[in-house]
Each structure stands twice: as C-alpha cells, then as structure tokens.
C-alpha cells in the first residue's frame, strides 16, 4: 500500500510537471508574434510504477521537454507555392512596366513608343498625301517628319526595353548575396540541429531554419531533401546543390556576353563571388534558374524571354519597314537637281541580321527633294512611286507575312496576353499560398479531430467551387454558342 509520503511525492511531481508545462505555454504566448515560431506542446512521460506488497502503484508523470507542432510536408508545399507566387509576382510587376511603354500617349503632343501604331498609319498616309502633289515641298517635308517620328518612337521603345533589361539584370544580380547569406545560415543551423538534436524536434533551431528556407523560397526556386540526423539538403529546382548538411555552396554572378550569369561553386569551400564569370570556378546554372521560381526566376524570365521576344518583334518591324521603303525609294525618280546619293535611303540601313534594327533605326535623308515619288524614268511630276510606297503599308512586308500595322497590333496583343496570363498565375498562386498559410497556422493549435473538421470544410469548399465552376462553364459555353441549351440543373 502506498504511503502518504509517496502520495505527496506524486503530487509534488505533478505540480513540477504542470509548472514546466505552463512554462511551455508561456513561451508560446511570448512568441506569438515571432515570425516563423512554431507552437510547442509539453511532452509527458509516465513515471515508473512501484510494487509494494504485491500491488502496483503508479508514480504519476514527468514533463520531459517540449515538441514543436510542425509539419514538414505542409511547409514544403507552402514553400513551393510561395516560390511560384513570388516568381509570377516579380514577372508580373516587370511585365507591367514593359506594357506601360506601349500604352498610347493620348492627350499629349509628344510622341512616344505607345504611338507606334498611329505613327505607322501617319507615315504611310503621308505618301498617299504626296500622290496628289508629288513636287510639293511641304508634303515632302511631311513625309520626312512622319518618318522621323516613327523611327524615334521605335528606337526609343527599343532603348527603353534595353534599359529595363539592364535594370532587371542588376536587380537579379543583387539577389546573389541574399541567397548566400541564407544558405550559409541554413548550413550553420543544420550543423547545430544535427549535433544537438539529431533524433528529436530541435524547436527554435528548426523554426529559424524554416524561416530561412521560406525566405530563400521567395528568392529562388528550391527543392528540399531531408537527410539523416534531422539534416536538410537544398538544391535549386534544376538540381544544383546549394546546401548539404553543414556545407553550403555559394552562388556567384559574372558577366557573359553582356548579361549577368549565375554560377554555383563546385566545392563547399569556394568563396564564389567574382566579377568575371569565366573565373567564377563554378557551374553556370542561369538557364535552370530561369522559370525555376522565386524572384530570381521571375526576373530572369522577363530578362531572357519576355523582353527579348518584344525586342525581336520590334527589330523585325523596323527592319521590314526600313528595307521596303529604302528599296522602293531607290527604285524611283527624285526631283533633286543636285547629286543623288547612292544608295538614296530614307531610313538608315538596318543591320543585315535584323537584331538591333529597332534601336538603330533613324532617318538619314535630310533633303526632301530626294524622295523618289516618281517612277523610274518618269517625269518629276509623276506619282507612281509614291503610290507604291503608300501601298507598302497594306502589304506583307514584315517577315514576308504581315502588314506593318497588323504586325504591331499582334505585338501589343501578345504582350497584353502575356501580362494577363502572368496576372492569372499570380492571383491563383497567391490564393494557394493563403490557403496553405491558413492551414499551417491552424495546424499548431488544433487536435486531430479539429483538423479533420478543417479538412472537411476545405473539401466542402473545393466541391462547391468545382460545382459552381462546372455550371458556369456550361452556361458560358452555351451562352457563347447561342441557341444551344444547357443540361446542367
């Protein structure tokens, strides 16, 4: 039979255990606003029972420490969605700046890149005006003036795009040091966790590591691999190793063909950062980082894909218009009484490989009498070559497939569609992050039963949304094919 002393001992032990559990709760309250802190719960252990006179008596419980309520699977999913949302947000922001460049500048007298569409119309219309009076100097000056406005807007757009590309390049290169700082910190935390808490939850150390991983996810697309002793390896989404246990592999950047490339050190001890890519001593992972997620992925997608696509289109437009107009002008007869230069071009000769044609576009003709409005061998009052040049505006002179105005409209529409798509992606990914954040926050404070209830709510939400979507899709399809009725009830 247990004695009063043993009963008192059990009660004292219980009070001690409760006191320690209260300390855990107090710690939770104190850290309620600490970023990345995960709520802890006390761990109870039953004390050894004692046998007195053939009867077994329990000896109560002791508190053996605290365990953080974290879920690594959920955290990984959250990090993964965060890096996608971060990439699409960065891309969207940069694309909106590009798109703003092509917004028509109505209401002001100055012409900008956004006026290229109307510039093209005005330019070809100026030849139509010249047809009525081919020797009229004022009309000839009007042609050159329209040409100057068009070339200035096209070259201005190309130069602005190049400037934006350079600015994005600088933003991207600035991320390197932040990534290195975080991977260094994660490697150090890995070492502490593996040393001090290889077989149990490491509490605040794991919180700090998770916070660093979340920050890293916003910067660059990563994969996480759990290793022995509670360690963690981190690679980029393309598989380049950034952290392996207590070692980190520094990211560096260097210039290759005028743009910043990113390298990852091949050894953990390499310092990495240099100003020259050729001496960085690591592997070039730039292509893998593009579209790989995080801010860096977003920046590189705009720098290496979106802006080059727009620039290529502008180059094709500038090349097509310059080449066609110059060729036509050289085929006609001028009203000049002096020496006619050879070649007698209106626009500067574009580069033969098309690339750079937009930035280099300019008007080289200064004397309006050199405009060859008359046909070859015709009298100076003839307008047949002016008609030819006016008609070029309605001919497929861009890539031999599209008219200048249609080509430019497609360029602007494609850019708008890309922005819209990035907006859609970003909105959806942000919503996904919100959902996961809510679940992650809820996890640390609920029982499995409460969690099942939360899951049930989420499933209800998902099913109701799917039902609404199905009905709306059917209505939309039916509405857009008027006369066809829907079968959804």
């Amino acid at each position: 039979m247990a004695t009063i002393s043993s009963a008192m001992s059990i009660m004292t032990g219980a009070l001690d255990a409760d006191q320690q559990a209260l300390n855990v709760v107090a710690n939770n309250v104190a850290n309620a606003n600490t970023p990345g802190y995960t709520q802890e719960v006390p761990t109870w252990q039953q004390s050894e029972s004692v046998q007195i006179g053939g009867q077994t008596d329990g000896m109560g419980v002791t508190e053996t420490g605290a365990t953080s309520l974290r879920d690594r699977v959920l955290n990984e999913r959250l990090d993964q969605q965060q890096q996608l949302a971060s990439a699409s947000g960065t891309r969207l922001s940069s694309l909106q700046t590009v798109q703003a460049l092509f917004t028509p500048d109505s209401g002001t007298s100055s012409s900008t890149a956004g006026d290229i569409g109307s510039d093209l119309t005005s330019f070809f219309a100026s030849f139509s005006s010249l047809e009525a009076d081919p020797t009229n100097t004022s009309l000839r000056e009007s042609v050159l003036s329209s040409a100057k406005t068009l070339s200035a807007d096209i070259s201005g757009a190309a130069n602005s795009l190049n400037a934006q590309q350079l600015s994005i390049d600088q933003e991207a290169s600035g991320i390197t040091s932040q990534v290195n700082s975080l991977t260094t910190s994660i490697a150090q935390l890995n070492q502490q966790i593996e040393t001090t808490s290889p077989n149990a939850d490491a509490g605040t150390l794991e919180d700090q590591r998770q916070e660093d991983i979340s920050q890293l996810s916003k910067l660059v697309g990563i994969n996480q691999i759990t290793t022995e002793n509670n360690g963690l390896s981190i690679t980029t989404t393309s598989g380049a190793l950034l952290v392996a246990g207590a070692n980190n592999y520094q990211l560096s950047n260097g210039m290759v063909d005028g743009v910043t490339h990113f390298f990852v050190a091949s050894t953990a001890t390499a310092s990495g950062a240099t100003s020259d890519g050729s001496s960085a001593g690591g592997t070039d992972i730039t292509a893998g980082l593009t579209s790989g997620g995080g801010e860096l992925g977003g920046y590189l997608t705009v720098r290496d894909q979106d802006i080059p696509n727009v620039l290529t289109s502008l180059d094709q437009l500038a090349y097509g218009v310059s080449t066609a107009i110059n060729t036509a002008n050289n085929a006609g007869t001028t009203i000049s009484t002096g020496t006619v230069p050879t070649p007698n071009n209106i626009f500067s000769t574009p580069p033969t490989n098309v690339a750079g044609a937009a930035a280099a576009m300019s008007v080289v003709m200064t004397d309006p009498s050199l405009i060859a409005a008359a046909g070859a061998g015709d009298a100076t009052g003839d307008d047949s070559n002016a008609v030819v040049m006016a008609n070029l505006g309605n001919q497929a002179i861009i890539n031999s497939s599209e008219t200048p105005t249609n080509f430019y409209s497609t360029l602007v529409a494609t850019l708008g569609s890309t922005v819209s798509q990035a907006q859609t992606e970003n909105t959806a990914q942000s919503a996904s992050v919100t959902q996961l954040q809510t679940q992650s926050d809820a996890l640390s404070g609920v029982s499995l039963d409460d969690e099942a209830s939360d899951m049930s709510t989420m499933e209800r939400a998902y099913q109701s949304a799917s039902q609404a979507f199905t009905i709306l899709s059917n209505i939309m399809n039916s509405a857009l094919n008027l006369g066809e009725s829907t079968t959804v009830s």
Partner: protein
Amino acid sequence: MQPAMREIVVEASRALARLDADRLEELALSCQALNREFVSASLQDRSLLAAQARDAAGEMAVFSKVIEATGANLEVLHRARERRGNRLEYGQPLVRNWVPAENGHGDN
C-alpha cells in the same frame, strides 16, 4: 437576373482562397439559379448572358487555376494528415529520420 457572371466568378475565387465553404455553397446555388434562368431565357437575355460570359472569361481562368491549386493542396494535406495519423498510431518519433537504403537489394 442574377448578379453578373463576372461578379460571381470573382467572389467564388476569393471565397475559395479563404476556404469559405458556406459562401461557396451559396454561390453554387446562385449558379444553379443562373442556369435555370438561362435555360428559360429569351434570345435577348441569352445575348446579354453571352456578353457577360465573354466579360468573365479572364476571371474564369483564375477560378480554374485556384480550383486546380486547391485540389493539389487538399491532396498534400490528406497525405500530411495520413502521415501524422500513422505516426501517432505506431508511436514513431515526431521527427522521422532519413535512413539510407540498404545496398545489395536491386542496387545498381
């Protein structure tokens, strides 16, 4: 007529983002009502709805993506819950250690 289709779609995306099941169930009912109206609508009303449908196309793309992401999140949460359930059932430690695979069993 029910609220414009675009408003319904935008509200549905927002409700799904914050997992507001009650609101989504209301919206699903609104969609059913909208569908009934559409079936019995005159040609003129159907034209109006066609214009609304075109207007809501962008928001439908967002809604579709959010549903897709929610489905993936739900799957991850199911797995996470299953994992935690198993861990409690078998009394495994909260931190699962990585154990290297044994060599010699199909290892190449």
